[in-house]
């Protein structure tokens, strides 16, 4: 097994190689994307609406497979086992068991707080009450929600505030101990305070796993990410250290976008 590293000696957790993506109507949403995701780092995807960043993110857990006619070309390699998760022979469910996702709008199930977090474990066949209790508590603590909900785990998840619901969704994604967590604009539906909470939480989470996040908010990318990729019209324009992208980008287009001249 080869462990790939970058110049900072950081381990590559996953990597897209010449990734093309076509929607069912034939439009090509991604063009030859080559992008690494580093272990225990946050990689942010920025770019104007429709640039393909969400499409790219959703390729990592094969969400596109839910809708007929979508087509991938190229590879996304998951390390250390060198699995091409886009391979037809790899079951998308296996991929989703390893890579979890948090969505744009908080989307808890209309079930209890406990059942929301436990669902990923139940899907994996875990029905032991004590193990479930432990893991749910651990995940809720990991999502810094435990103290707010520990006395009402049987309450309906809808009774939580928007920010709490999103942290519940993070707990749900966390409970199954994923290797990578995908965030699709996780704070765009939240108020500033809830946003700060989620951002702090992500910085905490990256100690345990790798994070790939799509964000519309450039300040957010600058605040929390270690690496930033700028995408435009389905292409990866530039990918580098976040500091470098925001202080001294090598491409003119990137500079125009982050300075607000474009986009």
């Amino acid at each position: 097994m080869v462990t790939e590293k970058n110049k900072h000696n950081e381990i590559v957790k996953a990597e897209s190689k010449n990734l093309n993506f076509f929607y069912a109507d034939g439009t090509q949403a991604l063009k030859k994307i080559n992008l690494p995701v580093y272990e225990n780092k946050i990689t942010a995807l920025i770019g104007p609406s429709g640039c393909g960043k969400s499409t790219f993110l959703r390729s990592f857990n094969r969400m596109h497979d839910l809708y007929p006619g979508n087509k991938y070309e190229g590879e996304i390699i998951l390390y250390p086992d060198n699995t091409n998760i886009l391979d037809k022979k790899v079951d998308p469910i296996e991929v989703r068991m390893r890579i979890s996702m948090v969505f744009q709008k908080p989307n808890p199930f209309p079930k209890s707080i406990f059942e929301n977090v436990a669902y990923g474990l139940r899907v994996r066949g875990e029905n032991n009450k004590r193990i479930l209790d432990d893991k749910v508590e651990e995940a809720l603590k990991g999502a810094s929600l435990w103290n707010e909900v520990k006395d009402r785990l049987q309450d309906l998840a809808f009774n939580l505030s928007g920010g709490q619901q999103q942290r519940l969704c993070i707990a749900r994604a966390l409970a199954t101990e994923p290797e990578i967590m995908l965030f699709d604009e996780p704070t765009s539906a939240l108020d500033p305070i809830a946003t700060v909470n989620i951002e702090e939480l992500m910085s905490e989470l990256k100690k345990k796993l790798s994070i790939l996040i799509v964000t519309h908010n450039m300040q957010q990318a600058a605040r929390i990410s270690d690496y930033t990729a700028y995408m435009y019209l389905g292409e990866l324009v530039e990918h580098d250290d976040t500091n470098k992208i925001f202080t001294n980008p090598s491409k003119k287009e990137t500079e125009d976008y982050i300075t607000g001249k474009f986009g």
Binding site: N61, M63, L66, P68, I93, R96, M97, S100, M101, F103, K105, N107, P108, F109, P110, Y119, G120, R122, V123, R124, L156, F158, C169, R172, A173, T176
Partner: protein
């Protein structure tokens, strides 16, 4: 001069705006009034019809009416065999139509590949809901009574009404499933659920309110159906009960009732109304009131259920 010109024109504009708003509001009022009138006339018609039935049938609202068989003497005639027949037929209908309809709805919505075949099925299911019920009766007569040799029995009647109810259950199941937001579905898939787990743990659980409503409305329709049952040869005068479904001796369940002849409430009513003696018309009115009360009760339960579940699950 320019300033002076501006002021009155702005005022004029304001008056114009106010007139316009008044006009638009008048349209609101006209439409609301029209709607009220239509709804009120419909409701009042229904209430008058119902009151008329109740007033005519009032003397028959006794326990005897429900526990007596029909008789040549109007005063002694009751609806025992009719309500027992209706209940047993509905049990068969329920057992057949509900699982089949829900399964078909789930399959069409979740599993079937979208294409020309699913389009054809879709159009057919929608059309089936609109086919006149007597056509179902003819189909049942040919298929169940003659081809399958099931006879003019409760089983045949239940199956016939099940055919009638199936499209209603399928359509309401599909609509209930479609109301589940795609984000919830994606959330379930994203934690690694299989299609079957998504269906079982989410789709069915979040849509059962809508499905149940469809089932009850379908049953309410089935309870009043007359034409298809006359076509397959339901009896109009019946002075015995089918064998009891439950027995004292093991195995406690007796299926002979499925093959028994039967009558149902609307047929009993039809039979009485077609007699010349006025006394029988009173019986018919009372039976009609019973049918309407049952239908209203069932629809009321459906509305209440839908309301309760909507309150619990809001997307």
């Amino acid at each position: 001069m320019a300033v002076n010109q501006k002021k009155p024109s702005a005022l004029k504009d304001l008056n114009l705006i106010r007139t316009m708003i008044r006009q638009h509001k008048r349209n609101d009022l006209i439409f609301a009034g029209l709607g009220m009138f239509v709804i009120a006339s419909l409701t009042i018609t229904l209430i008058i019809l119902f009151l008329d039935l109740v007033l005519d049938g009032y003397p028959k609202f006794t326990l005897d009416f429900f526990s007596n068989f029909p008789s040549r003497r109007a005063a002694r005639a009751g609806i025992l065999s009719a309500w027992v027949g209706s209940s047993l037929v509905l049990i068969v209908t329920f057992i057949v139509a509900v699982p089949l309809g829900i399964a078909a709805g789930i399959y069409l919505e979740e599993y079937s590949k979208k294409g020309w075949l699913s389009d054809i099925i879709e159009i057919n299911v929608s059309n089936l809901a609109g086919v006149p019920s007597i056509i179902y009766g003819l189909l049942a007569l040919g298929l169940f009574v003659y081809s399958f040799g099931l006879g003019q029995s409760i089983l045949t009647a239940g199956l016939t009404l099940a055919l009638l109810m199936l499209p209603i259950v399928i359509v309401s199941t599909r609509e209930a499933i479609r109301a589940i937001p795609v984000q919830i579905r994606e959330a379930a898939y994203a934690v690694g659920a299989t299609k079957w787990q998504v269906v079982l743990n989410h789709v069915v659980q979040y849509s059962y309110g809508g499905i149940l409503t469809g089932v009850i409305i379908g049953m309410a329709r089935a309870i009043g159906e007359t034409a298809p049952l006359i076509t397959i040869g339901a009896l109009t005068f019946i002075a015995f009960l089918p064998p009891s479904p439950v027995t004292i001796d093991p195995p406690f369940i007796n299926l002979d009732w499925l093959n028994a002849g039967f009558t149902v409430l609307p047929i009993q009513m039809f039979n009485w109304i077609s007699r010349p003696q006025h006394a029988f018309h009173i019986n018919a009115a009372a039976t009609g009131a019973v049918i309407i009360i049952l239908t209203v009760l069932m629809n009321g339960v459906a509305i209440k259920l839908r309301y309760n579940i909507r309150k619990k699950i809001k997307w």
